[in-house]
């Protein structure tokens, strides 16, 4: 087995997609690593990541630090219904949000699951809320569930992922 193995890859087709699902994830790796490039069909919806189709409003939480324009901020979201990512690239924009997600020890059945996220949402287009502001940051998230992660779902808070959005799942194996 290689150190990094491709598990699955999804590229959204011309019709768009309201969700992307990685199911039946093998328990043969140590960590999971996901790379996402995406853009919403309209508006500025958040990308939501959930595990094992768990949509409870009490099991996810996130601490974030991020910068946009010349501003640096941080915040914390407790008791949420998913791990969320802001994306401020707009419908008519040709830029894509890039998200890099590490999920260590995903098959551990003793501990809650952490995610470590690094992401960048470029924006070179003005609207009433955001003017030429790129958006980048990191997130640490917790899923308060000790079950092994066997599936991962990506959705938007509204609308659909556009064509050519890509979601790639890798497995990492330690020595």
């Amino acid at each position: 087995m290689a150190t990094i193995d491709l598990i699955a890859h999804t590229e959204v087709g011309p019709a768009g997609a309201s969700s992307v699902n990685f199911s039946s994830i093998a328990n043969t790796f140590d960590d999971l690593w996901i790379m996402v490039t995406t853009r919403a069909a309209s508006g500025l919806p958040q990308v939501l990541m959930r595990f094992n189709n768990e949509t409870s409003t009490t099991t996810y939480s996130t601490t974030s630090t991020y910068g946009f324009g010349n501003v640096a901020q941080s915040d914390r979201q407790a008791n949420a219904n998913g791990v969320s990512f802001d994306q401020y690239n707009m419908q008519a924009n040709t830029n894509w949000t890039s998200i890099n997600i590490l999920i260590p020890q995903y098959k551990n059945t003793s501990n809650f699951k952490q995610s470590l996220i690094d992401y960048y949402s470029p924006n070179n287009q003005a609207n009433s809320s955001f003017v030429f502001e790129n958006y980048c940051g990191g997130r640490a998230s917790l899923w308060r569930n000790t079950g092994a992660i066997s599936s991962i779902q990506f959705t938007l808070s509204s609308g659909s992922f556009v064509e050519k959005s890509t979601f790639t799942l890798y497995g990492i194996t330690k020595a």
Binding site: S61, R76, L102, L116, I172
Partner: protein, 171 residues
Amino acid sequence: MAAYEAIASTTLTTNTQTITFSSLPTTYKHLQLRVYARGSRTGSADVAGIRFNSNTSAVYFVHRMSGTTTATAQFFTGYTYCWLASTLASPGLSSTVSFNSCVADILDYGSTNKNKTVRAIQGVDTNGNGLVEYVDSTWINNNAITSITVFCVNDNFVSGSVFALYGLRSA
């Protein structure tokens, strides 16, 4: 030949303060350390540090940008170790049992004419507490790195913590 290979790993079965990767191979260009860890400290969070070649002199400096509910940037000189995590989850941070996740890149570790840098992203969330940070450190030393010591600064890493070292080839 793979460009990214697993070199060594340690999964703790008892609480342990120090983990050392020694006799590092010289066949890679860069190293990557992936850490999944929690501390046993009560009263407050702990700190995870990293040293090279057992050098405990004050020849490290650290720059970090972090976020809790506010964003912070700090710079420290004269440290005796590099930081992997300024806030390591422990009973002193939260009763919610969470582990820090950290990915640290150690570039050109075999060079004998460069000070060594560690670039890391790490974080933990406890549903009401936590931190995410980008932490960059420098070891002011031109020697090739032959050993890496990861340690819990005040107490121990708990059982179940995982430390995995990877190598990246350039040719």
